[in-house]
Symmetry: C2
Subunit: 159 residues, 2 copies
């Protein structure tokens, strides 16, 4: 799985702690964890294309969450970065086997493919059941000072 997934999840989390209505630039989000700014920008663009973030150009621009954290699941973020295709690639191997028919969709017929999809569905279901708000609440319960310190860090990085 792409490394950008980790960056995207943490960046979304940090954005959820930003001042309401405030846009945070990719440079500041990157400085938070000493990440390469231009590359993080690329990932944030993907999140914007997926409708998870809104991007604002120009001075005072940056990114902010496009909808409340309760409406953003971890699966949304993962799919935005990784793409919607399944991790297990069923290349229709049976099509090349004996008695294979080109017109058959072997993702539906192949038992191996079905089992792999079932497992992947369990993974997706788990990710879809957790929202950004859930994660944020857990973090705040364990480390109550996080929201304030995050806002402070952003303010400090504003130069």
């Amino acid at each position: 799985m792409n490394e950008g997934v980790e960056w995207a999840l943490h960046s979304c989390l940090n954005l959820s702690w930003a001042e309401p209505g405030e846009a945070v630039t990719a440079a500041r989000l990157a400085a938070f964890y000493r990440l390469p700014a231009a590359y993080l920008n690329k990932q944030l663009q993907a999140l914007a294309r997926a409708g998870i973030l809104t991007s604002i150009s120009g001075p005072r621009g940056g990114f902010r969450l496009a909808r409340p954290p309760e409406k953003i699941t971890l699966l949304d973020v993962v799919v935005a970065i990784e793409g919607p295709q399944d991790a297990f690639r069923c290349e229709g191997i049976l099509r090349e086997g004996p008695g294979g028919r080109p017109e058959v969709d072997y993702r539906e017929v192949c038992v191996v493919s079905q089992e792999m999809r079932k497992a992947e569905l369990a993974w997706r279901r788990e990710l879809a059941s957790r929202t950004l708000a859930d994660v944020r609440a857990t973090v705040e319960r364990r480390h109550p000072g996080t929201p304030e310190s995050t806002r402070d860090r952003f303010a400090q990085l504003r130069t």
Copy 2:
């Protein structure tokens, strides 16, 4: 996920239908689905290293299952090909953040990492609950002629 996973799963399944005690060469397993023989051989080597297959050199050599299909889970095969590491790479991003400590294992502390691991565990659990024997039984129920036709194919490919 590597394409070799699909090849490995189907090859193991085909091996489970081979004559008991018969070793099938990588070339024949590859010809079954018109796969590149040398590369499939590489995947089969990984399965052998993982203890799923036994490899025999020389004439009349090849691969066969190292243990009965009831004792081989889909997870075993996936791990043998993909490696044991998690798909979600937690690079300890928090270590570089404010107040990060180098000695902390952030896979245990980071809430994001925990949620991702939980999802991945669900995936692994699903794969571990299905054995090669289960898949084989399902295939035989839907297509009763498969065992015989598979053996015929192997015999035909023996030249």
